[in-house]
C-alpha cells in the first residue's frame, strides 16, 4: 500500500537488501526446487564417470545381445539399439548439454554485451548500424537461423554450438542496449562525466557493471532454452552425431524403435525436460531476487 511508507534506518539498508533478496528467493519453493535440479544435473555431469553404471557405454560400444532391453535392475532405464545403458548415456549427455549451453551463452554474452554497451552509450552511426544488424538477426526465429547456419557447415556438436551462438547474441545486445540507454542519464554517470572520466571508462567501468543482474538472470533463463534448441538441432540430425550421447540424438535414434522400445526415446527427453525446467525455475527465482524485468516471452525455442 502506498499509504504505508516505511523508513528503515540508513545503516540497515545494505544488510537488509541481502536479507530481502534471500527472503524473496526462499519465498518461492519453486526457486529452491529449481536450484536443487540444477545442482543435481551439474553433479550428474561432473561425476558421470563415477555415477554411471556402465561408463564405457557413453562412447562407441556395441553389445547386440543386450539391445533394446526394457528397464530392469541391471539397466534402470533400459538399453538402446546397440545394447548401451541409457542411464549411463544420459549422465554423460548432461556434460554435453551443460558444456554446450555454457559455451553458447559465453559467446553470446561476449559478443552481444559489448555491442549493446557501444550502441547504447555512444549511439551515433555505429550504434545505429549495430541495432539495425541486430534487427536483421531477430527477424527470424533463432532455431530457423541456426538451422540455416548448420547448412553451411558439417553437422557436428561444435557447429551446432556456433550456429546457436550466431543466432543468440542479438538478444543480449538488445537487453544491454535498453539498460544502458536508461543508465546513461543517471546521476552517477553525470557525476563521472563531470569529473572528466573518458567515455570508454564510463561505458565499461561505470555503466557495464550495472547491467550485470539482468544479464545473469537472462543467462540462467536462456540456459534451458539453449539446451532445448541444441537438442532440437541434434534431433534433426544437424547437430551432434551418433554415437555421441547427446540427448536429442538419443531421442532421434530411439524414435526408430517406437512403439516397442518406448524407453529409448522417452528417458532422454525426460532428462531435457527436467534440466530445462530446473534452469527456468532458478531463473525465475533470480529474477525475483534481482527484481529485474526481462521480456522472456519466448515460448521455448
Amino acid at each position: 500500500m502506498a499509504e504505508a511508507v516505511a523508513v528503515p534506518s540508513l545503516r540497515a539498508v545494505r544488510a537488509d537488501e541481502w536479507r530481502k533478496m534471500w527472503a524473496r528467493f526462499r519465498q518461492s519453493s519453486l526457486s529452491l526446487v529449481g536450484a536443487g535440479i540444477v545442482a543435481a544435473v551439474v553433479a550428474g555431469a561432473v561425476f558421470a564417470p563415477v555415477l554411471a553404471p556402465y561408463p564405457r557405454h557413453a562412447g562407441v560400444f556395441v553389445d547386440f545381445d543386450h539391445a533394446l532391453q526394457p528397464p530392469s535392475a541391471r539397466h534402470w532405464l533400459g538399453t538402446d539399439d546397440a545394447g548401451r545403458d541409457i542411464l549411463s548415456r544420459i549422465l554423460f549427455g548432461a556434460r554435453i548439454s551443460l558444456a554446450l549451453g555454457a559455451a553458447v551463452l559465453a559467446i553470446a554474452v561476449a559478443v552481444g554485451v559489448p555491442l549493446g554497451v557501444v550502441a547504447g552509450y555512444f549511439g551515433g552511426r555505429a550504434g545505429d548500424l549495430i541495432m539495425r544488424v541486430t534487427d536483421v538477426f531477430l527477424a527470424v526465429p533463432p532455431i530457423a537461423l541456426a538451422l540455416a547456419v548448420t547448412a553451411a557447415l558439417r553437422p557436428t556438436l561444435s557447429t551446432a554450438m556456433i550456429a546457436i551462438a550466431f543466432a543468440w547474441w542479438p538478444w543480449y545486445t538488445r537487453l544491454v542496449y535498453g539498460q544502458v540507454l536508461s543508465l546513461r542519464e543517471q546521476q552517477f554517470v553525470e557525476a563521472s562525466r563531470a569529473v572528466g572520466a573518458s567515455p570508454w571508462r564510463i561505458a565499461f567501468r561505470e555503466i557495464l557493471p550495472n547491467t550485470w543482474s539482468p544479464v545473469i538472470v537472462k543467462v540462467t533463463l536462456d540456459m534451458g532454452f539453449v539446451i532445448l534448441t541444441a537438442s532440437g538441432l541434434s534431433f534433426l540430425g544437424l547437430g551432434a552425431q551418433p554415437p555421441t550421447p547427446e540427448w536429442g540424438t538419443m531421442i532421434a535414434e530411439g524414435r526408430n524403435y517406437l512403439p516397442g522400445a518406448w524407453w529409448a526415446a522417452t528417458f532422454p527427453g525426460l532428462a531435457i525436460f527436467v534440466t530445462v525446467l530446473g534452469f527456468n525455475l532458478l531463473g525465475d527465482g533470480l529474477r525475483d531476487v534481482f527484481d529485474v524485468e526481462i521480456e522472456q516471452w519466448r515460448a521455448g525455442s
Partner: protein, 346 residues
C-alpha cells in the same frame, strides 16, 4: 471509546426527518501485513456525515484519507484487515456481503476520483462506459452481448448535460484519451452520479487539473450538490478547498482523526497543534507563507507509542508518549484528540 462519544453528540440533520447521520464511521481500523511488520494505516477513525451535510476530510498525503474512502465502500485490497463499523443509514457496511455492497456502490454512495485520466477505462468510449453503468449498476451479473436501449442512452446523455458537458452527443463516441482533463473529470462525475447516489465521496477532486479548471469543476459540483440535496465527503489535502466546500472539517493525521470542527471555527481558532501547523502553512492573503510543520508522517509499522503526532509537536509533554489522547468533545460541535485540552475545557 472515541467513536461512541462522537456519534451521539451533535448531528446536523437537514432535510429528512430521520434520526442519526447518513454515514457514521466508528473506530475504523485498517492494517496491512508487510515485510517490515504490521502497518496500522487507519487507527480508530471516527467521523460522521449528516443528511445534506458537506464534510471535508483534510490531511497530508499519506495520512490515510483515500484509504478511508475506499474502506467505506469496501474497496480495499483483500490483504487489508479491517475492523470497526461503517454505518450507512444504520446498516454496518463492513458486515455486508460483496453482492450487497455492490448494490450500495454507485446507487447509495458514489466515489469521484482524483485523476480522471486513470479512472476512466482507456479502451472504451464514453458512451460505452456510461451505458454499462446505466444498464448493469447493482445487477448480480451482466449480459456481455446485446443490450442497447434508447432509454438508457437518453438518461446518460441527460446526465452529461447535468455535469455541463456542452456537446454530449459529440463526446459519446469519443475515447477518454481524446478529451481534455476537465471534460474527463466531468464524465467521471457523470458516471458517479448516474445511479442517483445520496452520498458522494470526492477524493482530491480536480487535483490533477489546472487550478482554474479545478475551481470551475468545484463550483459546478457545489451547485449540483445543492440542487440535488446530496451529502458529500470531500477528501483533500488543501485546507482552502475544504473551507470553500464544506460545513464541517475533520483533520486527519497518520491514520487518526485529530480534530473536527465547523469550518469557520476551525479556521478562526484551530485547537490541535497539528491543525495549527497546517493553517500556518496555508498561503495568506498578504502573500506570506506560513512555517509549516517540521518532520514527516511516521512509519506506520513502528508509530509513536501513544500520540502519533508527538514527535513533531511543539507542545509535547511527558504524557503524550504514554497515553493516547482520545477524541473528545471540548466544546459544542468541536472535538479534538490532544492532551492540551482536557475534557470540557478549552
Amino acid at each position: 471509546m472515541a467513536g461512541g462519544q462522537l456519534t451521539g453528540s451533535e448531528i446536523r440533520d437537514r432535510g429528512s426527518g430521520t434520526v442519526g447521520p447518513l454515514l457514521a464511521v466508528e473506530d475504523l481500523t485498517v492494517q496491512f501485513r508487510l515485510y517490515e511488520g504490521v502497518a496500522r494505516v487507519l487507527n480508530g477513525v471516527s467521523l460522521t456525515v449528516g443528511r445534506g451535510e458537506s464534510v471535508a476530510l483534510v490531511g497530508e498525503t499519506g495520512c490515510g484519507k483515500s484509504l478511508t474512502a475506499r474502506a467505506i465502500l469496501g474497496l480495499l485490497p483483500p490483504a487489508a484487515r479491517v475492523s470497526g463499523r461503517v454505518l450507512f443509514e444504520g446498516t454496518d457496511l463492513l458486515s455486508l456481503s460483496e453482492s450487497a455492497l455492490q448494490a450500495i456502490r454507485g446507487r447509495q454512495i458514489a466515489l469521484v476520483f482524483q485523476d480522471p485520466s486513470t479512472a476512466l477505462n482507456p479502451v472504451f468510449t464514453v458512451g460505452e462506459q456510461m451505458l454499462d453503468v446505466a444498464a448493469w449498476q447493482g445487477a448480480p451479473r451482466a449480459r456481455l452481448l446485446g443490450r442497447r436501449d434508447g432509454g438508457l442512452r437518453r438518461r446518460c446523455l441527460e446526465m452529461l448535460r447535468v455535469v455541463r458537458i456542452p456537446d454530449p452527443e459529440g463526446i459519446w463516441h469519443r475515447y477518454p484519451v481524446e478529451l481534455s482533463g476537465g471534460m474527463r473529470q466531468r464524465v467521471q462525475i457523470a458516471l458517479a452520479l448516474l445511479g442517483n447516489p445520496r452520498l458522494l465521496i470526492a477524493d482530491e477532486l480536480g487535483t490533477a487539473l489546472d487550478v482554474s479548471i479545478q475551481d470551475q469543476i468545484l463550483t459546478e459540483l457545489l451547485d449540483l450538490v445543492r440542487t440535488r440535496g446530496l451529502s458529500v465527503l470531500y477528501i483533500t489535502h488543501n485546507l482552502g478547498v475544504a473551507r470553500a466546500v464544506s460545513d464541517r472539517i475533520c483533520v486527519m493525521y497518520a491514520g487518526e482523526i485529530v480534530e473536527t470542527a465547523p469550518a469557520a471555527q476551525l479556521f478562526s481558532r484551530p485547537l490541535h497543534p497539528y491543525t495549527q501547523g497546517l493553517l500556518a502553512a496555508v498561503p495568506r492573503l498578504d502573500g506570506r507563507i506560513g512555517e509549516g510543520i517540521e518532520g514527516r508522517i511516521p512509519d506506520y509499522t513502528a508509530p509513536p507509542p501513544a500520540c502519533r503526532f508527538s514527535p513533531r509537536c511543539p507542545f509535547r509533554m511527558e504524557v503524550c508518549d504514554r497515553v493516547r489522547p482520545p477524541l473528545v468533545e471540548v466544546e459544542p460541535g468541536r472535538h479534538v484528540a490532544c492532551h492540551l485540552y482536557p475534557r470540557g475545557t478549552s
